[in-house]
Symmetry: C2
Subunit: 357 residues, 2 copies
Amino acid sequence: MTARRRLQDAPIIDAARGETPSRMPVWFMRQAGRSLPEYRTIREGISMLDSCFRPDLLSEITLQPVRRHNVDAAILFSDIVVPLKAAGIGVDIVPGRGPVMESPVRTKEDIVSLAQLDSEVIEISEGITRILQELRSDQALIGFAGAPFTLASYLVEGGPSKNHERTKALMHAEPELWHQLMERLVPSICAFLWTQIDAGVDAVQLFDSWAGFLSERDYREFVLPYSRQIFDELRSSNIPRIHFGVGTSEILGAMSEAGAEVMGVDWRVPLDQAARRITEASGPKVLQGNLDPAILQAGTQVMRQEIARICEEARRAQAEHTACGHIFNLGHGVLPNTAPEAITEAVEIIHSEGVFH
Amino acid sequence: MTARRRLQDAPIIDAARGETPSRMPVWFMRQAGRSLPEYRTIREGISMLDSCFRPDLLSEITLQPVRRHNVDAAILFSDIVVPLKAAGIGVDIVPGRGPVMESPVRTKEDIVSLAQLDSEVIEISEGITRILQELRSDQALIGFAGAPFTLASYLVEGGPSKNHERTKALMHAEPELWHQLMERLVPSICAFLWTQIDAGVDAVQLFDSWAGFLSERDYREFVLPYSRQIFDELRSSNIPRIHFGVGTSEILGAMSEAGAEVMGVDWRVPLDQAARRITEASGPKVLQGNLDPAILQAGTQVMRQEIARICEEARRAQAEHTACGHIFNLGHGVLPNTAPEAITEAVEIIHSEGVFH
């Protein structure tokens, strides 16, 4: 029961489908949020999770960077733990720390009794309806969910972790429990994404924040099957599916096997090299990336050089038939202390880059 | 004026020199420190930096894990910022946060007036003398310093950083200033390492904690020349030189060009793959690594499997002539919440592994 708009020449969607976009498409991970003064104003006195469940705020915060920066997509303002919260699991986002669980999930009992999300999240649907009313027909709305491994890490560790050691210990020492936990998370993530798809998002990104902490061997055994289940489940939506993780140079090929059409690449790997790794594993994909977010703080000249280099690497990959498109993005999220003016300027520079055809 | 002992069948040094050691050599990064109750006792009421400058504590803390775990080397207890402190730069290590600078170093004036270390650090020499008195003749003492990029990041950011954006912005926007800063740091790091070498350490490790945050391109332009200067300067010591950074899979080849005989590898890259990348860049080296530290929390059975796999990967590299030795270590430091008994057990398992010859 989708409310999906009919997009007209939306560069991001055209690129994501392997067609030639009318201009170089760009959006930035974390473009909505702390870098914008209008965001800090609107969030004053309202907790992060509350703002994710209020349709008016959800809509306003998602749209702020689109109005300001002229990016080609809005990314739904949300947090990795929103589907857990929506399922009734005790979680709070502590400022300066991140998501903290009321009680960590470590035993068989914890896992089998873990609440699941099995219905639409009305507040998210309503927020999306509002967003779509304001977006132009060439601007896409990208939906968002955290991948099961990243969610599992928050649940097992009980909060943000630098080393994910309890999570890794669980997967290695009690693999059956681990697989049960992942199986229990997949339906909640799918339900959360279907809420967004049914409400009309034009693409979705599955964000595996912590996947780069795993070796390829561990990723393939303990994570890939579940990310693949999610992409399989979303295939019938017929909207582009994007997959991204940070520090994933060793597992880009494995991650691409999960089935997304678009692979996000962090700034550590040149796009043409990334494209070869991806193609070897699962054939050519559309690339998304990969400007180092720190470069947005290095001035116009440096931004120009780095943007030109990245577009050139993407064109090379397309010429070599190891990629079938390029969506410009950062290699990770916008850093909170980035000047909004620099973001706007970067978008202008990127839009002035030629498109491969 | 070296006080260096004559080691007898020290497995770590034999392996580091490409000779066949009498048993599989092992030490663990951060083996000295927070995982040991005897460390927490001795540090009570004493600040981190004070303990690094007290010969009695330095010696005792360095020796604690050697006594307890029967590892083949002691690693000098120290911190990345010790040479800065010794040079008179205002720095403190804040519990739960890390090194914090009195004032960050960001302008030309900051850089030209940055104090340098140009003499022996007596307290460190005295600590080393004490340590060497207690070590067996088959146990090596490994000296330690942070690499210039990692030190520069602390100086520029003013403390620990998640994204190193000011540092990267400086190197890109003001490359001349960046190169001046790196040139200013190299002599201090060399002086700190020569203090240790003259006092008798048997090997040194240059630790570039944050190098994995750089792309290969940036690493080669802004970092490699300075790490190479340090290894060049140490060549005349004739002791094995080890180089390590975390998350460095993309830059292993480039890092190996800095000139160390032994390349530490983090857990994300299988040793045989790492060996091929290193060999392609600068010929076969001795490998050090690379058990995921989280595995020390996953029980005996998992430890056995993972240790066997890693030794097998190292043997394969040696058989393929892409490595000329293997020193067992973790792929990063011991995590603070690791049970000391698990560390001891891991050492026993590693010592029971066969040696390639």
